[in-house]
Symmetry: C2
Subunit: 337 residues, 2 copies
């Protein structure tokens, strides 16, 4: 197993991302190809007591696609960027997966250009793995790859999410829910209504509409489907609610000696909370529907987060998700949809 | 000032809602007309040490529109419901505002049928008033009245939100933001891009795109605009994030004697948090764009929440929001949009 890691595109410096790669290599005995500035990568490896060879390789690049670059233009113009070169190397079969903490839109555009779509999948979907209070994660597709969706796109997201749940997470018959503003069948907008009918008539285990306020606590389904605009709003709103609550709690706790003492006694609890809800840093979001294993890590990923994202990519490549998806689409075609 | 209160449509029994009406009447010396089952209302008033007359009136109804009724059908068929009769009374000029904790879709449909739209406003928008960590609320339109929107609809929501901020909240030049999945001008889906251009060219103080994770903490603008589907997802996701965080904290706190002691010392802080974030119970959501002051309270509204919703309705009626909106539309037309 050989995984390409873009160490230039994130918010944190390359040395942090190289440290994550080294950690992942040690944990899972996989080879890591660092894509980026050779000098910085050599230095960062040395800091970790490692050198090239013996599991670590280098793909040199001279350009960087930044967070505020316009995706399609950046991918076209910065042909010597870590993002473009890494994806080209994946396409050429020189590695099994590609991980980038870079500009999401640029990774999506670059992956579409370099790898193309899986036949039968009209648009790619970015998948988030979210924690729940039932001690089991659940999946949300799409959280930002495709902002304008048709019901057919959403149906493909459902199939991809269910295939991932089955082949990577080992859930035998994953249940699927449609993210909506009410649980009744007729709720939502025009696209929700059309998608509801399509999913109901599909071979998937469709459980109907699910509302956002119940997902983290009740985990009603294994896979939640939505368009990339709504999915991204959902993720960032959850993040916003948690951030506001914890900031206010922090303020309130610092008010006087009594509350500070209370916070001291609860310090373990607070640390646990942070761990559970820092989901954006727990790993990466697989980009489903392109011809190859591509995982997008959060821009603010540190070493631990990058190591987690590499593990997500490893599991996806090991499960041969692309092949499973092709098989799923075949079964789907047989079903007559 | 005379305000109609639908005491039949909520999740809580009429006596709770009557108690809320009595509280509001005592606080602001307004007249309350309770719409619902006469026997229940008499009993509930007696419990509060009140009778009809002297500020309390009764509009008897025999039917109830329930939360799971299909809105348009319910409004057409249940012509003797508290919701339909209350709106008809408002239309007839027998009161200044109408408050209901009932089925949101049915209140929207009923208000459109009974009152009609304000000329120049293509679709109504439901407005949420949300708390922020900057100790100042902000407004979000639409959070659920119109699920399928065009950019023109969103522009009207922006105008209505800004007019409300000016005339009810006294903000001289309210800033407006478009709820989006990135801050850069070009982010989002097709409708966000078209709406962005329209708002930029409008006479409003448009501040560009705003992302959901920053709203509660940073309060970047006074008025946030989005379609009713996205706005409802936003609200419920924030609610979901806060619910998950506080549930997990509660569990963690009950783990052992030390954490329980910590929680005891922090009990005031936890109570404060609940107060700030129980926004769905703090009052009502004005339904903007219909010809009359209609406020929709949360279905789970208790006496305190209903009293708050009545106060929202009172302030809206006092500010003559409808007239302000008509004036705003006139200025808008002069501007040439």
């Amino acid at each position: 197993m050989r995984i390409l890691v873009d160490v230039m595109g994130g918010d944190l410096p390359p040395r942090e991302l190289v440290a994550g790669g080294v950690d992942a290599a040690r944990r899972h005995s996989i080879d890591i190809v660092f894509v980026g500035d050779p000098t910085l990568i050599h230095e960062a490896l040395a800091e970790q007591g490692e050198t090239l060879g013996g599991g670590f390789d280098l793909l040199p690049s001279s350009q960087i696609i930044r967070m505020d670059d316009i995706p399609v233009r950046a991918v076209r113009e910065k042909t010597d960027s870590s993002l473009v070169l890494g994806l080209a190397s994946l396409k050429a079969g020189k590695a099994d997966a590609f991980v980038s903490p870079g500009n999401t839109g640029a990774v999506v555009a670059g992956a579409l250009f370099a790898l193309g779509r899986i036949p039968g999948i009209p648009r790619p979907g970015l998948m988030a793995v979210l924690p729940s209070l039932r001690n089991q994660d659940f999946l949300v597709v799409d959280v930002g790859a495709t902002a304008d969706c048709t019901p057919e796109h959403l149906r493909a997201f459902a199939l991809m999410g269910a295939t991932y749940a089955r082949s990577v997470l080992g859930i035998a018959e994953p249940s699927v829910g449609l993210l909506n503003i009410g649980e009744e069948d007729t709720k939502g907008n025009r696209i929700s209504n059309e998608t509801f009918a399509m999913l109901r008539d599909s071979p998937l285990a469709f459980d109907g509409n699910v509302e956002p306020h119940r997902l983290l606590t009740d985990r009603p389904v294994d896979v939640v489907v939505c368009d990339g605009f709504v999915g991204n709003i959902f993720l960032k709103s959850i993040e916003g609610g948690i951030a506001a609550f914890s900031t206010l709690l922090k303020r309130s706790v610092l008010r006087n000696a009594i509350t500070k003492a209370g916070a001291f006694l609860l310090r373990r609890s607070f640390a646990d909370m942070r761990k559970v809800f820092a989901y954006q840093r727990r790993g990466g979001a697989p980009l489903l529907g392109v011809n190859g294993a591509v995982v997008i890590a959060h821009g603010r990923s540190d070493a631990e987060a990058i190591s987690g994202a590499i593990d997500v990519a490893r599991r996806q490549a090991e499960a041969r998700l692309g092949q499973r998806l092709a098989e799923g689409l075949e079964g789907w075609a047989l079903h007559g949809s």
